[in-house]
């Protein structure tokens, strides 16, 4: 048995039965990083020393039978947008290259309190801006299934880490597909939660009305365990919801008999990769076997989701990234002649091309004379997209769609054309403007052995239904158990 391949559930069981120690479990992940990560480049920071220290403390607690948290001894990674006290937190951008977070993000604190052990921070597109992790200012992460391919993005490092057994799960963030798409490309599971379900406090902002905190895991069951831990109201994030966080494990084994699953025709368009289309259709048959009722549905505003999403997102970007001024933290141009030059030069050198593009587009969309035509128009279309979903969920309990129209693409293939890269998010950006949750799970492989993923989409706070449906699928299929050949 290789400890790096365990799920959270298996690892907790093994620790409890003293089959191995928390130190051995952490070492297994750290050994994988040492052996593989020079090549895969999933990590920006590895916290070896603190991880081993925390693992020893966990072992002491376990020996005394005093484990207080439900994740005691579980090693994990976090996307480098999560503030971790005393640890470098870079947002994969040069502007924060040397930034040390002075406090813990709420989700990091909750995982710490539950006993989970942070082994490192993962690479991603800077501030979450991208769909391939190629925009990172520091390194290009490779897909563990094929190192010529991208791992997806923006949370590419997190997905690649989980797929290669470097940490049992990864804490990540999804603004327009940044958890689901890389999970799909790397053959792992990812949950994008209902907006407001998990606190955003301490997470470096992209688009504040769209950002959601979730996890990338090996199984749906693990995602359910984690959401219970990190979800809930937080006084430090006024947009967190008051609704209590249910015990997702209690309902995860429920039958999905008579569950109404809608198939939105706008997600099964021409141009979708043939093998992806076939795999999703095969998966739909599995859900039918489990007793679900399949119904065709329509979301007519889908084709406007990309422009509406990007206009909303970049407008918020231009406001959120105004804080990088070279004065209080971050890159600062030493020889600037006055304050204005300091702003201009620090931001010119600290931000990479995609970050500049988004800030400028957002600034344009919000500027005098253009606000109504761009920002306001996008927010109105956002209303229509949400209404689309509201209507569809009167007929269907959840929806099934592909995560991405194609499997992982070649490194460099879309890097020179920003618009082509944006279009890669066509099936994932739709749900963020509506604030609803989506669960990405593996459902097949292409003939080139690249993972294919489907997503289950539900109304607000439908995570219990998404989890039980995803879990039911993983009980009768083995796609999620496949591992890349990492020798």
């Amino acid at each position: 048995m290789d400890l790096s391949d365990l799920t959270i559930k298996q690892a907790l069981q093994g620790l409890k039965e003293k089959k191995f120690s928390a130190r051995e479990l952490a070492l297994a992940s750290l050994e994988r990083i040492e052996r593989l990560d020079q090549d895969i480049s999933a990590f920006l920071t590895v916290c070896k020393e603190s991880a081993l220290k925390e693992a020893d403390e966990a072992d002491k607690l376990i020996a005394q039978g005093k484990t207080t948290g439900s994740l005691t001894g579980i090693p994990y990674s976090a996307k480098d947008v999560f503030s971790v006290k005393g640890v470098k937190t870079t947002a994969s951008s040069k502007i924060l290259e040397n930034y040390i977070a002075p406090y813990d993000a709420t989700s990091i604190r909750k995982l710490k309190e539950a006993g989970a052990i942070l082994i490192g921070k993962t690479n991603h597109d800077p501030f979450g801006f991208g769909s391939s992790t190629e925009n990172s200012d520091f390194k290009i992460t490779k897909n563990p299934w094929n190192k010529n391919k991208v791992p997806g993005g923006s949370s590419g490092g997190s997905a690649a880490a989980v797929a290669s057994g470097m940490g049992i799960f990864s804490l990540a963030e999804d603004t327009g597909g940044s958890i689901r798409q890389p999970a799909c490309f790397c053959g792992v599971t990812g949950i994008k939660v209902t907006y407001g379900r998990v606190s955003r406090f301490g997470v470096i902002a992209y688009g504040s009305s769209l950002d959601t905190i979730g996890v990338i895991t090996k199984t749906v069951e693990d995602a359910a365990i984690l959401l219970k831990e990190i979800g809930g109201r937080d006084e430090n994030d006024a947009t967190t919801l008051n609704e209590p966080v249910p015990d997702y494990l209690k309902t995860i084994d429920q039958s999905i008999k008579n569950l109404r699953i809608g198939i939105p025709k706008e997600y099964f368009i021409k141009g979708i990769n043939k093998e992806v289309g076939v795999s999703i259709k095969e998966a739909i048959k599995e859900f039918e076997k489990l007793g679900a009722k399949i119904e065709p549905v329509s979301l007519p505003y889908t084709k406007y989701a990309i422009p509406a999403y990007y206009l909303s997102g970049i407008s918020e970007v231009s406001a959120n990234l105004a804080r990088y001024d070279g004065i209080r933290f971050g890159y600062s141009q030493k020889d600037a002649k006055d304050l204005k030059s300091l702003y201009f030069e620090s931001r010119a050198k600290g931000f990479g091309p995609e970050v500049k593009r988004r800030i400028m587009l957002g600034t344009y969309a919000l500027s005098a004379g253009y606000y109504d035509a761009f920002y306001k128009k996008a927010q109105q279309v956002r209303s229509l997209i949400k209404q689309d979903f509201d209507k569809v969920f009167e007929k269907a309990d959840i929806l099934i769609a592909p995560v991405s129209p194609f499997p992982a693409f070649d490194i460099g293939e879309k890097a020179q054309d920003p618009l082509q890269m944006w279009l890669a998010d066509i099936f994932t950006v739709t749900i963020n403007p509506a604030g609803i949750p989506g669960l990405a799970i593996p459902c097949g492989f292409t003939s080139d052995n690249l993972p294919i993923g489907l997503q289950l989409i539900g109304p607000r706070l439908s995570e219990p239904i998404l989890f039980k449906t995803g879990h039911a699928f993983q009980k009768i299929t083995d796609w999620h158990k496949n591992k890349p050949n990492l020798k």
Binding site: N98, Y99, I100, P102, Y103, Y195, G196, S209, T239, Y301, K303, Y304, P307, A308, L311, A322, I327, F329, G330, Y331, S332, A336, D338, L339, K340, S341, L342, Y343, F344, R347, A348, K356, R357, I359, M360, T363, Y364, S367, G369, Y370, D372, A373, F374, K376, K377, A378, Q379, Q380, V381, R382, S383, L384, K386, P418, L419, W422, P433, A434, G435, I436
Partner: protein, 109 residues
């Protein structure tokens, strides 16, 4: 109707793309210094993207309300209680430049 006419005006302009001057103006508003090369590159790329997002023009949103958030929460208040916050040292720990416990920056004029 006023909005619509502005919109048509912008689109008419956009089909020809952004001008260098517009790119420089936006960079000025965004406080980002650009090189000559970047101005031209961004002019092309931003024009293409704006052209793409102007697809929204097709949608009739006459009576549609703008949706800026989805939580349905309003006026979230908390008790105004003083709690421990950063020490001066913590607040300054990432400062690129400091002087006697203050952030130090360049002269304004």
């Amino acid at each position: 109707m006023y909005v619509y006419s502005i919109y048509r005006y912008i689109n008419a302009k956009m089909r020809n793309g952004l001008t260098r001057k517009q790119v420089e103006h936006v960079a000025e508003l965004a406080h980002i210094g650009l090189t000559e090369k970047e101005i031209e590159k961004f002019r092309e790329q931003l024009s293409a993207i704006l052209d793409f997002v102007s697809k929204l023009e097709e949608v009739d949103t006459g009576k549609t309300k703008a949706l800026s958030q989805t939580t349905e929460l309003k006026n979230v208040f908390r008790q105004d209680i003083i709690k421990p916050s950063f020490t001066q040292k913590q607040a300054l720990m990432n400062a690129p430049d400091q002087y006697k416990g203050y952030f130090r920056t360049k002269k304004v004029f």
